[in-house]
């Protein structure tokens, strides 16, 4: 027995076991998220359930679970219940119902059962009764109705998109210009008592803009007029619903679809998720703004954290006289990495937003006050806060890389008549590059997943515009933004309809993992290329 312990085998088993456990946990997490996330886009069949009391339910079965029977005697048969997504929130009040399996008399999958993804009120389940054009009935019944729907839907969707385009692009531009002129007028008013000719000219411009706005408003009204086709759906429970076609995102009959059609639908829904705008308080639609915000924030943060961390590490290791003070600084830097992120968030609010942002507003944007420009949360301040949060990671990694460069390398360069700076620039910096990138990878991974400090420095539930757009100066660092991590929190735990939002939580989590993975892979590829270039045996 003593020999067994001495042999060291138990330690090998222990360490191997620890590794295996970690791997299993990570793999389990990824698999769970992937299954729940990716499965969501697959159109599951619509079931029609006839219950013992004669009631009918139409919807998609979401999950099945055992009904707990506490205190039941041994041998009691197990009972199960299923959760059905019946949709039609506006008709029934709730999207989901629980049904005990024992109560189901009949379960079938009618091929003409229709699922409509609406722009508002969530999914609609039912059967087509008729398609109307204004008051006139165009088609009746499931068959004809379906064909009529296929004919009219693309046109209506196009009209809807046109309306959206005019609202966002054209009228958005007018609003932007109006706001600028208003600020200009206010600025002139601040400068002197009256710059009347200038103000008059600006007023004139405002007038033309208003005229243009009225034009657009008129064409909008016209477009809305033209879109008057609607669909009447009969839903389970003897309900009926008339729905304008413009309200339909997608309508399909999963029970009548083949594998190919389902796959196409899957890809279309997946694409909508990645590249679309959110709907229904983020519980439906896409996450593009959040994805964009996350990536942009991480990139801005990297731009700040890399030079700052690297320069600090160089000073600490190459120039500072090693002694108790430098050791203290080093310990402080290491400890900084352990400070809770919310503390950094509070600091960001106090220092960046109120102090620096407030000063910027007073100096450069006095005309907009009391509406803050930089004096409120924004992507720049969030990125800077995260840069502070992650700078110790970069410093530590760079310092370790510097320590690993053999002293002989520096001496050789100095002995050839190079100055200290030339040595640092030509020998030390290239050799330490892989370590710098390692630090940056860790920093980016940390920043992409951080939520708490962002919530108070500029992340919002729904940002009206992306931080990059077509209006001068194109990059708007003062804007609030959306973030995948916060999106998960918001959709999963702040949404009124948690059951409906759950798949979004998984898909968003999966996307966040993917973003981190892609960012890391890019940096790792870059690092391995650099390593090949500066092959150092010791790093």
């Amino acid at each position: 027995m003593k020999r067994f312990w001495k042999s060291g085998d138990p330690f090998i088993w222990l360490s191997g076991g620890a590794l295996a456990l970690s791997l299993v946990m990570v793999a389990g997490l990824v698999v769970l998220v992937m299954m729940n996330g990716l499965g969501f886009f697959w159109p599951s069949p619509i079931a029609r359930l006839t219950l013992a009391d004669g009631k009918e339910l139409v919807g998609q079965v979401v999950q099945r679970e055992k009904i707990p029977q506490p205190g039941a005697p041994q041998g009691t048969p197990e009972r199960y219940r299923i959760q059905v997504r019946v949709g039609n929130r506006d008709l029934y009040g709730a999207d989901f119902v629980w049904v005990e399996e024992a109560n189901i008399v009949r379960r079938d999958f009618p091929p003409d059962a229709l699922l409509i993804e609406r722009r508002e009120w969530g999914n609609l389940y039912g059967f087509i009764k008729e398609v109307r054009d204004g008051e006139r009935v165009v088609a009746q019944g499931s068959g004809d109705g379906w064909n009529a729907l296929q004919t009219y839907l693309p046109g209506e969707t196009e009209t809807f998109n046109e309306i959206r385009r005019i609202e966002k692009r054209e009228i958005g531009a007018i609003n932007h210009a109006q706001e600028k002129i208003r600020l200009e007028i206010k600025k002139l008013g601040l400068r002197g008592p009256d710059g009347s000719p200038e103000v008059a000219r600006l007023q004139q411009e405002l007038e033309t803009l208003a005229a243009r706005y009225r034009e657009h408003a008129a064409s909008l009204a016209e477009l809305r007029q033209s879109s008057r086709r609607s669909l009447v759906v009969s839903a389970a429970g003897d309900k009926e619903k008339e729905l304008p076609l413009a309200q339909i995102v997608r309508a399909y009959r999963p029970d009548a679809m083949g594998l190919l059609a389902k796959s196409r639908l899957y890809l279309s829904r997946l694409w909508e998720f990645v590249a679309g705008e959110p709907r229904e308080s983020n519980t439906e639609g896409g996450v593009l703004p959040a994805l964009f915000g996350t990536v942009m924030m991480v990139i801005i943060m990297s731009l700040f954290v890399a030079p700052l961390g690297v320069l600090a590490a160089f000073y600490l290791r190459e120039y500072a006289k090693q002694g108790p003070f430098v050791s203290a600084v080093r310990i402080a830097v290491n400890n900084l990495a352990g400070v809770p992120s919310i503390v950094f968030g509070v600091f960001g609010v106090g220092f960046f937003i109120y102090l620096i942002g407030g000063s910027i507003d007073r100096l450069f944007y006095p005309e907009a006050l009391p509406t803050p420009t930089f004096g409120t949360g924004g992507i720049l301040w969030a990125s800077l806060t995260l840069a502070l949060l992650t700078v110790p990671v970069v410093i530590v990694a760079t310092e370790e890389g510097l320590a690993a460069i053999p002293g002989g390398m520096r001496e050789a360069s100095l002995a050839l008549g190079a100055t200290k700076f030339e040595t640092t620039w030509r020998i030390v910096l290239p050799s330490v590059m892989p370590s710098i990138l390692t630090g940056l990878i860790l920093a980016m991974a940390r920043a992409a997943g951080e939520v708490a400090p962002l919530m108070i420095t500029g992340v919002v539930k729904l940002a009206p515009a992306l931080p990059i757009d077509g209006f001068w100066p194109f990059v708007h660092l003062e804007r609030k933004f959306m973030h995948l991590g916060f999106h998960i929190y918001d959709v999963g735990f702040q949404s009124p309809n948690v059951d409906a939002a759950r798949p979004m939580v998984y898909t968003t989590a999966l996307l966040l993992l993917l973003v981190v993975l892609v960012l890391n892979l890019t940096a790792i590829l870059l690092r391995s290329r650099l390593r090949k270039k500066y092959t150092l045996s010791i790093i």
């Binding site: 053999p406 050839l416 008549g417 050799s431």
Partner: protein
């Protein structure tokens, strides 16, 4: 073959000496004879044309005295070896010659060292200029993690030579001088770390002579090499002394006997004996030297 490269280097050096003499400062030219210190006698012989003159050199690391009152003249175009037991100060002495000890905190240096008549501890002398004149090869081969070509071209680049043609010439010439050209000429743009230990050390020699220094310092250049690689380096040293003044530190008594013309024996930071190598190994004048050479201590 070497015209352009030599011209480039000579031009830089010319600039320098002109500038130096205008300012009335240290031009890197022979010192006036009144500045020459009294000739140092080495055993029975007098060194007529010393390249390096060391006078009353002492060095302290903090409180620890590492070198004590050392005076010796190192002749031009000869190989001088420093021998002695570990910790006797021979490497420290060597590193005084290109002021590499300056990098260490808390070093105090007393006495004077003149190389080519110029006091190297003069505050007006740019330390980088000194190091361009005094090349060094280290105990552990330390090529930069760059290509073979870039290693050899590093010194000239630092001096500001950018012309590709001139660099090509310098690289080829120095690699030929270091007897490495034939082995690497077809893979100049591969990593220097792919070379064998002996090749790496010869590359370091090539890198040091690419800037055409006057003096070449070698700190145990063969201690990490196998006998065949050592033999190659020794051969190389014998060839190089025609152009350079070589000062080497070695632990290997046979090597000192084989390679060097003059040998200095150091012990506990003092110079015990300095003479022609033949003299030292055949007929040492001090008992301590004899004991060390014959292996009775150290």
């Amino acid at each position: 073959m070497v015209t352009r490269a030599e011209a480039a280097l000579a031009e830089r050096r010319g600039d320098l000496s002109i500038k130096g003499s205008e300012n009335g400062q240290k031009a890197l030219a022979p010192a006036p004879s009144d500045l020459r210190m009294q000739d140092q006698t080495v055993g029975a012989t007098t060194i007529m044309e010393p390249m390096i003159e060391i006078r009353k050199l002492s060095l302290k690391y903090g409180e620890k005295l590492a070198l004590q009152d050392i005076s010796l003249d190192i002749p031009k175009h000869q190989v001088t070896a420093f021998i002695g037991p570990s910790g006797c100060g021979k490497s420290t002495l060597l590193r005084c010659l290109n002021r590499l000890n300056d990098l260490i905190d808390g070093v105090q240096i007393g006495g004077t060292i003149r190389i080519g008549g110029i006091d190297i501890n003069d505050l007006d002398l740019e330390i980088t200029e000194l190091r361009k004149r005094v090349g060094m090869v280290f105990q552990k081969s330390n090529p930069f993690p760059k290509t073979i070509y870039e290693n050899a071209a590093y010194g000239p680049r630092i001096q500001g030579i950018q012309s590709r043609a001139a660099l090509d010439e310098i690289v080829e010439k120095s690699l030929r001088q270091a007897a490495l050209w034939d082995e690497v000429h077809d893979r100049l743009h591969e990593s220097a770390l792919s070379l064998s230990g002996g090749q790496q050390q010869r590359l370091c020699i090539a890198r040091a002579i690419a800037v055409e220094p006057d003096v070449l310092l070698m700190d145990e250049p063969c201690s990490a090499l196998d006998p065949i690689a050592t033999a190659k380096i020794e051969e190389l040293i014998a060839k190089l002394k025609k152009q350079y003044t070589i000062v080497m530190v070695t632990h290997n008594m046979q090597q000192a006997a084989r390679v060097s013309d003059y040998t200095a024996f150091l012990y506990l930071g003092t110079l015990v004996e300095y003479d022609l190598t033949k003299q030292i190994f055949v007929n040492p004048s001090k008992k301590q030297t004899e004991d060390y050479i014959t292996g009775r201590f150290g």
